[in-house]
Amino acid sequence: MENIFTGGFNIWALIKILVSILLGMYILFAFVLTRQVKLMTRTLKLGFEAPVKFLAFIHLAFAILVFFTALTIL
């Protein structure tokens, strides 16, 4: 019997597209987060600005890395 895995329709291809779209949106979110952290560190000087900005930047870099890994491997 033909099912969705053996037929013409490949569910994993659909998942790949969905994952790529979601990760693309995630990059946008991570970028907005870095902007927000930058604004917050400008508003409040609490003595830990550089490491906090670095954390937000690492988060953005990680999101981009995961996006490209997903595009390459899936």
Binding site: L23, A30, L44, K45, F62, A70, I73, L74
Partner: protein
């Protein structure tokens, strides 16, 4: 004929908010056993902090107290993050990921760690940027939540009508932290300094300030 009534000169300069003699106030608090904070950048109770500032601070305004939630509040997100970090390993160990095609397992693990990282970052930043200031002029509440939302409210000291605090639960009692509720006559009717350390001292400082501004 001598003047019966001599009117004083009319005040032409606008009334400025009273500036408290911070140094005297500082000495007073020192005498009461409240010491100047020289602790780490992550301290939750900073009395007369020297290296802390905020954008809207006025020139004649001095920070008396900077507060944030008690560090024990962080245990929740730290514990959940630790659990989340082990989830992919547990799934692999028990073979629950066998239905995934090759490559997907690795990518899904990466996505899982990305989400975990975001969760931990949200926990830390929400704690770090959620601060409360008591200055010589105002109380300021900076709320940072959901990573992309923030709210900053302030009220003049003279507008404070009532201050109370509550200490809840075993941890709150054991570690002496609680919520300080400040009722004001300003645009924001109530300020909630949530889970701050030594709420009794905060209350005392606020009451002292109110007495001095009257």
């Amino acid at each position: 004929m001598p003047d019966v009534f001599i009117s004083s000169d009319k005040e032409t300069t606008p009334k400025t908010p009273p500036v408290l003699p911070t140094e005297d106030f500082q000495e007073e608090h020192k005498a009461k056993g409240m010491k100047h904070s020289h602790r780490s950048r992550f301290a939750s109770f900073n009395l007369y902090p020297e290296h802390i500032n905020f954008e809207t601070r006025r020139d004649d305004e001095k920070i008396i107290l900077m507060l944030r939630q008690h560090p024990v509040i962080n245990l929740k997100w730290i514990f959940i993050t630790a659990v989340l970090l082990f989830v992919p390993s547990v799934l692999i160990r028990f073979g629950l990921n066998n239905f995934l095609p090759s490559g997907y397992e690795f990518v899904f693990s990466l996505i899982w760690y990305l989400v975990t990282f975001t969760y931990a970052l949200e926990g830390f930043l929400s704690w770090y940027f959620n601060v409360y200031f008591i200055t010589t002029h105002r109380i300021i509440d900076v709320d940072f939540f959901n990573l992309i939302d923030k709210k900053v409210s302030d009220a003049e000291i003279e507008m404070i009508q009532d201050v109370s605090y509550t200490t809840k639960g075993v941890l709150g009692t054991a570690l002496n932290y609680g919520d300080v509720i400040i009722q004001t006559a300003s645009e924001v009717p109530e300020f909630d300094f949530g889970s701050v350390p030594s709420p009794d001292k905060v209350l005392k400082i606020l009451n002292d300030l109110r007495m001095k501004t009257k």
